[in-house]
């Protein structure tokens, strides 16, 4: 799980071209959007593509995406729970 979170942070920073962010500095539970990392809805859509590409997870609904992408921890939990499917 920790390894998954570490990888996710690296992938998010790379995918969104967050040059000024050190992946290790991202708190597992900090909100990704608005206040925390300051991402926006286009970033959310890019993360949808990332999750499909790297983890085979398909998200087709915007509301669902919002719920999953609260934080790195919530994304990791979602990936874990959908791994076996």
């Amino acid at each position: 799980m920790d390894e998954l979170k570490t990888n996710l942070k690296k992938q998010i920073v790379e995918c969104l071209n967050l040059k000024d962010v050190n992946p290790e500095s991202i708190d597992d539970n900090a909100p990704l959007f608005g206040e925390g990392l300051g991402l926006d809805s286009i970033d959310a859509l890019e993360i949808v593509v990332l999750l499909q590409q790297q983890y085979g997870i398909k998200i087709t609904n915007a509301e669902e995406a919002k719920a999953i992408m609260q934080s790195v921890a919530s994304i990791a939990a979602y990936i874990e729970s959908h791994k076996s499917n």
């Binding site: 969104l16 071209n17 040059k19 000024d20 300051g38 286009i42 859509l45 890019e46 593509v49």
Partner: protein, 320 residues
């Protein structure tokens, strides 16, 4: 009313300060600034090259006009955001890689530049984007002038932008340009040129422009003969490289050879290249800064943008 050019900025393949042209094997490339010094990292992270070129030129033109937030933003682009369009097209065409990024779709739309500039300036005013092949910039200029006549107190941000990508270069070479190049065609180009226009007096007036719909093509020659002292004027011709073009020749005959500049040798051939000529004309009339040696009595510049067998336009700028 008289309409003036209050400021201008161009990112182009031409560096006038050292008379250098960024061109190799028929491919002109803009000499780009270090964007990290101009735009902040968060703004830059998603931006495509055409967007960076547009926003930077727009920002510089506005800065040079006392940072006045314009009353209208009007852009022109013949081919739009080719890099993002190409990326998205390639992905949807590849049955083995169906991972498409939303950003390249969002930024493939022609009004991405005008929209992002309004976002950057927090500008809620009139916002429009023209895309009419080699007349795109002329039509945007036409709209700007019509708007200033409707609202004389306004100021307008006007820009012409096109980008050259490897994909576009290769396809156009395959299509017909490789052959043309052996016959003197300068090559494909790109650029981003932005201007602020208003009724506030400055050194350069947008005196007149003639687009085909305002009369037939002979109007352009007639206008020059009637209204321009060609001894004090420069002709910026849009011939993309000494190609056979009877319309171009007719106009060139009205000027001495040393008063004619084929401007596409500096920026290459692209749909909104007349915006580069508009920038060059403004530079020339402002005292020939960094331009080829010119006499000081230059009073008028005529931009003649013609495409063999296709569209034609004239823009007349003069000293106030």
């Amino acid at each position: 009313m008289e309409i003036y050019i209050n400021s201008s900025f161009a990112i182009s393949p031409y560096d006038s300060s050292r008379n250098f042209i960024g061109m190799k094997d028929g491919r002109f490339a803009c000499i780009e600034p270090d964007y990290d010094n101009i735009l902040d990292a968060r703004q830059l992270r998603r931006m495509s090259r055409i967007m960076k070129m547009a926003l930077t030129a727009a920002k510089k033109a506005i800065d040079d006009n006392g940072n006045i937030n314009p009353d209208a933003i009007i852009t022109a682009t013949g081919l739009g955001c080719l890099e993002d369009t190409g990326t998205f097209l390639t992905k949807i065409s590849d049955p083995d890689n169906r991972m498409m990024n939303p950003t390249s779709f969002i930024q493939s739309i022609h009004n991405t530049m005008a929209g992002q500039i309004s976002l950057f300036l927090r500008n809620t005013c009139y916002n429009n984007t023209f895309t009419q092949t080699s007349l795109s910039f002329e039509h945007a200029l036409f709209d700007a002038v019509m708007l200033l006549n409707e609202k004389p107190d306004n100021s307008v941000l006007l820009g012409g932008i096109d980008e050259l990508t490897t994909l576009k270069f290769d396809l156009a070479e395959r299509l017909h340009l490789a052959e043309k190049r052996s016959n003197g065609y300068y090559g494909q180009g790109e650029g981003s040129a932005f201007f602020t226009l208003s009724g506030h007096k400055s050194k350069v007036i947008v005196k007149e422009f003639i687009l085909p719909f305002m009369g037939d093509h002979s109007d352009i020659g007639n206008y020059i003969e009637a209204k321009v002292d060609t001894n004090d004027a420069i002709l910026l011709s849009g011939n993309p490289g000494n190609l056979q073009d009877p319309d171009d020749e007719t106009i060139k005959q009205l000027f001495e050879d040393d008063r004619i500049i084929d401007y596409k040798q500096y920026c290459g051939d692209y749909p909104t290249s007349s915006s580069f000529a508009f920038w060059m004309a403004n530079q020339l009339l402002n005292g020939g800064i960094g331009m080829p040696d010119l006499d000081s009595d230059l009073s008028d510049v005529i931009i003649h943008h013609s495409y063999p067998g296709n569209s034609q336009s004239l823009i007349h700028l003069c000293r106030s």
